[in-house]
Symmetry: C2
Subunit: 338 residues, 2 copies
């Protein structure tokens, strides 16, 4: 039974998230306690800013994957909780720095931290959270998990620099775009999943399968995110439509539309994204061009392919509640776009 | 023989640095190779920016302390090299983020990275270097060293946030100032020294002595730095005099001058540092007020006290070339102010 195929049939995409939410609920409650505890500091600004982020309603998909993967692997210890919290801190630190780099005003439908507390605090609190993340990993004491997460940390930053360099560059190819999202998004999803198997001391084949699962769900997730930025459903997810457009980010819907565009259309993309000369109605026009070239639908189609790869990677594991929940989580990542 | 007392007699302060430079020269050559190697990336901007920092002529005192401490402890392995390189990367990442936070235009007499490549690249390349630092630490495989360095990483960021919160605040006390420099500077000096003993598996008492040494040389180093910012010798060190003044940083020379100042003088400090309303001649006036209240000399005197504490901490170790070099390094840190 291919679960991805059901995605289109579902009315409510969040229904596909329910099995994993149920599976990890106890673990995630512990993760949340640790997150609040580790964001404490006598320096007032730190818990203040951290609380803002913690309460901002992210889904915490990444730490959920760590907990779910540990359960899939029959792990009975407690190390996965701190590892999951580390993953979320790494992600939060990235968001803080990203908002500074992208000069974003909004994050998940709320004013971004850099608007409320300034760029300076965002940079430094991000550094603090990263430090706390590594402290927690060390407390768990698994050098193998530390290796995976520290490598992810460097790769994520590399991906962000790559994205910065490709920003406003209309010659960006599909391959270059994929290299960016592989680093900046899929690397942390991959690490989050893999460490669940590592902490459970499972075989290399199983650890590797979890890594493949994480990489592919991460790619699917980012592709859908990039599609949503040009579609009406984004507002429902607390995102403002057109953020990527205004920031000159060259995402796949743009790459596809530009590649297939007429001379006039290419001039439109250069003016808006490369030169940053955006007039009223341009976002509307961008969406119209994407529709003309089927760019959103094809971005979603690519996400479906990665989603199927993610699900296929779990073939190595016997059926279980955890496995079913992780398969459904892939559906959720993709069906958000409907 | 109290080496600090000789500091005033020395003609050339860098003479006191020679013994440690000689001691660590082979090790530091290996550190430099690793630094260049680890700053490599297919993302061009990363090695470009990293090379700028690497060639910018910092003294690399922190990694030198790691190598020297390992030698002091008779360490025969190779792990200290990667740990030292990690320490330097952590420091470089902090410098990159600091320049963004302080909006600094210059660093060691050259244009700062953020002026040459922008704030965005500085934030992200800092993150990359931090990731590489943790990767190297993991490769060494000492969980004890990882614990010390990850804790330092969180404490440094905490100190930077503290400094940001205290910035432009004329009610900052000497104690609050000390808490800032303890975190933002002394923590990394302490970690750098301690891990030399940790990697050599020395007794807790010896590890702790190295930590005390590092903390105190770090405090002395920062106090002298803060004094130099208001003295003519700064230019020689590639620093521009008055940076802290222009950035509204409340350092000890300011705290002492403000505390002892008349009503008019306090109004001057509030106008310039709190309100940021700096006119021509104000830096000159600030230096004159510091002279009147002996604030620079007393800042240096406090550095001398910490320097003596650093040297005393090494009493637990028998005489050796390494010990003598580490004692002299303290003299160097202080005699820079002459």
């Amino acid at each position: 039974m291919n679960l991805v195929m059901q995605a289109g049939e579902r009315r409510d995409p969040s229904a596909a998230l329910e099995p994993i939410l149920r599976l990890v609920s106890t673990g995630m409650a512990e993760v949340n306690t640790i997150i609040l505890d580790q964001a404490r500091s006598e320096v007032e600004l730190i818990p203040e800013l951290a609380r803002h982020l913690i309460n901002s309603g992210g889904k915490r998909l990444r730490p959920m994957l760590t907990i779910a993967a540990a359960k899939l692997c029959g792990y009975e210890g407690t190390g996965h909780i701190k590892l999951a919290a580390s993953v979320e801190f790494m992600h939060t630190a990235t968001l803080l720095h990203d908002d500074v780099v992208d000069e974003s005003d909004m994050r998940r439908g709320k004013k971004s931290a850099r608007i409320l507390w300034g760029n300076q605090a965002s940079v430094l609190v991000g550094d603090f959270l990263l430090g706390q993340a590594f402290k927690m990993m060390v407390e768990v004491g698994s050098l193998a998990a530390l290796k995976i997460l520290s490598e992810a940390s460097a790769v994520i930053a590399e991906g962000e620099v790559m994205q910065l360099a490709a920003s406003k560059d209309m010659t960006t190819t599909e391959e270059e775009y994929l290299a960016v999202i592989f680093s900046k998004t899929a690397a942390l999803f991959a690490a989050a999943s893999e460490i669940g198997g590592v902490i459970a001391s499972r075989s290399e084949a199983e650890q590797s399968a979890l890594r493949v699962y994480g990489t592919n769900i991460g790619l699917a997730f980012q592709l859908i995110d990039d599609a949503l930025d040009y579609s009406g459903e984004a507002a429902m997810l607390g995102k403002s439509v057109g953020d990527d457009f205004r920031e000159g980010k060259i995402t796949l819907p743009v790459v596809l539309s530009h590649r297939r565009g007429t001379v006039e259309e290419r001039a439109f993309w250069r003016r808006t994204l490369q030169d940053g000369d955006i007039e009223e109605g341009d976002l509307h026009q961008a969406i119209a061009l994407m529709r003309r070239h089927n760019a959103i639908e094809e971005t979603i189609e690519r996400a479906r392919i990665y989603g199927r790869e993610a699900q296929k990677a779990l073939d190595i594991f016997p059926a279980s509640e955890a496995k079913a929940a992780m398969l459904d989580a892939v559906d959720f990542s993709i069906s958000r776009a409907y």
